[in-house]
Each structure stands twice: as structure tokens, then as C-alpha cells.
Point group: C2
Chain length 226, copies 2
Amino acid sequence: MKQVLKKTHKFVIVAIDVVIFAIKDGILQVLLIKPKQPVFKKSWALPGGMVMPKESVDDAVKRHLFQKAGVSNVHLEQLYTFGSVNRDPFGRVVSVAHFALIPPDKRINLKTTEAYADIKWLRADNLPSLAYDHKEIIMTALERLRSKLAYTNIVYSLLPEQFTMSQMQQVYEVILDRKLDKRNFQKKIKVLNLIKKVGRQKRGEPNRPAELFTFISKKSQTVDVL
Amino acid sequence: MKQVLKKTHKFVIVAIDVVIFAIKDGILQVLLIKPKQPVFKKSWALPGGMVMPKESVDDAVKRHLFQKAGVSNVHLEQLYTFGSVNRDPFGRVVSVAHFALIPPDKRINLKTTEAYADIKWLRADNLPSLAYDHKEIIMTALERLRSKLAYTNIVYSLLPEQFTMSQMQQVYEVILDRKLDKRNFQKKIKVLNLIKKVGRQKRGEPNRPAELFTFISKKSQTVDVL
DNA sequence: ACAAAAGTGTTGGATTTACACCCATGA
DNA sequence: TCATGGGTGTAAATCCAACACTTTTGT
């Protein structure tokens, strides 16, 4: 199919790609697949695929996300549409890039069965060689993620249901790649009224147990965090 | 052609739309066309059109902008991609919406000759009934414009080559729809070092002549304006 | 007892807001 | 001379950044 497209070059195909982020072990990770095409044998690529005529772009993203990562009901956001003529060697494909945020305790179900050879989490700070313009897409997603951390409450999409203040601060530190002051951070978060104590503590570590918090609401809103 | 698409419903067409803003007479205006299709006889619509197989999305926007408004070399920015299934009654069309900013002294050349009956500037604060999902697109563009005024220097794209401080302040007031304090505004702008006095004044009005300024650089940059 | 992370306030500096009068011009 | 918008500074309030010690636990 795609080969035909290349030859005729008569249509513009609409596809989607998703940059899926999660923080695991204090490291920002991106979910990538290993394409089977020989051209990209040495590269990794973003999960994605075509938009079908009878599904919306949003639905296409959800479908591919579920088909490839077995995940649904996560923060999902349109990023940018990449539309240069030669971005895909197999045809004229315009891709509506998105990004997704997955909390670390989310059950996911990676499926290697389909058109790609492998799928796994890779560090965002040490990316392998990437197919298509996917490097650029990931960089754009990272930028967006960084800026949205500062003026929205999306951090809730990267935290488990219950979390400590340090965990929350760590999300900021990992993504922004700088240390924050503990007292100032907690002061700012407190005044925003986004989270509340659950009344239990995280025990079992060889140090003072930390209070557990949870988000009062998980609606996206713009708030001045940093 | 479009009718065929509707029946077969086999392909997704990629199009672009542009929300073209300018401030004229202290009013924020949007450039709209009057479609010829009977369905939209009573509506206005955004200028736009298909992306051809051999042109990039960016090039398609520039082409349509030139074909419809006779304008080139203006601030142009991708906004959002609208991809719901039924947004266009004539077929499955995904539209990559953009916005453009045009300075008031820019020569433009509106062309009513083509597939639409009329083209003209309409007030953004009192929009007519709009075709497709173009109301939503304009609202999204307005939001984006408002937020970018605050953290970038794009205001230069809405001002003539030489301008007074009051003119600049007016751009902010019109778009943000609130009054600003003259002294505080000038203080903030001054510290950003974006503009310089040209050394002449705007005479001819029955009041004290105003200093004229110009932008030191017309590169987009993010700066904390407000 | 010790190591490790949790919790918790204050101060100085920077930034932001509010606010009013005189000036230069054209009519 | 009058009406109009242009140009200009200061003081109070708020916000932000820097900074260190005590607590609680597991081993």
C-alpha cells in the first residue's frame, strides 16, 4: 500500500504519532518501537499509524495507543503537525504528532506482535537513532512538556494516585533538568490547592516516613506553578 | 470532486485554514471569505484550501495566503489540527489551522475572483455566523494570540515599521481587552530592549507629538512582556 | 548509634502595582 | 486659550530566592 503511494504520489496521507512519556526510576522515558522496514533497521520510531477515513484524529490516536501500548485513559494532547514533503520515504504522509503522559503505576501491555519488531521504554536523555523526523517530534514534545509543567497542573498525569512531595518535586526536577528548593517548592504547591494529604505515610524506608498526597481534582487547568 | 469524496469516503483530505489577524482603526479584525456553496450562503469562512501532494503544509499555507489575500512575508504560525469526522459536509477533511498577523501598513490585495463570492475584514469581537468549525478555529487562534502576546515579541507583527508607545500599548489593550497603565507598560517594554527611538516624532495631531519607535530585531523570541 | 530523607520559617532583594501632574501641539 | 494625548517617578505591597537545622524512621 505505502509503496503504491510513493509511485503515484497522488494523495496526502494523514497519520498520527505519539510521544509517550513516563517517569520510571526517576528517569524520563519514551516508549519507542523498532520498525521492521530494512531502511530503518538500525533506528527506533514513535508508535503511530494512519488515520482512517471514518475515525477522528483523536480517535486514531487512542486506537493506536491501545493497539501498540495497551493503554487508555491517559493524558493525551495534540502537539504539532509535521507536514514537510519528504519526511516519510514511503509516501506523502502528514503526521499529527501528539504526546501522552503515563503515570508510573499504570498497567500497560506492550505488544510486539504487529508490524514492528520490538517496543520498549528508552531514556529521553539518551535517545537512539530515530527514523523519519521522529527526533524532531520528540524534541518538540519535550519542550512542550517542560513549558506545560510550569503553567498547568499536568504533573498529575505523571504521578501515581498517591505520592509524596519529594516524588512530585522529582517529576519537576527530572523533566526540567534542574534542582529545585524543597521549601520553596512546597510553599508554591501548597498555595495552589491542587493536592491534599491522604492521611497516611509512606513507610518502609530507612528514614522518616513521608506524608502521602493525592490530587483534589484531575482536570487540566492552567495554574502558575513555577 | 468533493462530492465524490463524500460518497466514497475513502480518503482523508488534508487542508489548511488561516486565521488572518490585523488591527485596523484600533479594532482587531479577521479576514474572512464568503463561500459560494449554497449550504453556507449565510456564513463566512476562513481562507484556506487543500494541501497538494507535492507541497509541504507550510507551503500550502503561504500559497493560499498569497492566492486569496495577495500577501506574503508575514508572521505565520501553526495553530492546531482539526480532525473530527464531520467537520466538513463535503468530505473527510482534516484541516491544519494556522494564524497570520499582518501589520496595518502592509499592502494587501484581496481577490474575490475565485471560488468565493467576497472577502473582507470583519471585527473579531463581533463575528458573523461561520461555516464549518471555523468559529472554534478562530476562538482557538484568539486564545493563542492572547497568550503569545504575553510571553513573546510577536507584537512587532501587528505594528507598522514605526510606531508610538501608545500604538503599541493599544495593540495589547485591544487584543487582551483590558486597559493597561501607561507608565508601567513603558517601564516593562523599556527593560526588554526590543525597540529603539527612531528619533522622529509623529506630528500633525492636535496634541503633543509622540516619539516614534522601531523594533531593533524582528526575530521571534520568547520574552516576558506582561 | 547512625544514615537517610522528611519536614519546616525567615529575611533581603527584586518585582509589581497604584497613582497625578506638567508638556507640546493644532485648532 | 483650550482640548488632546504624550511623557515622566515614587512609594507601598507583594513576590521570590536563598538558606539550615531538627525529626523520624530502619538497620
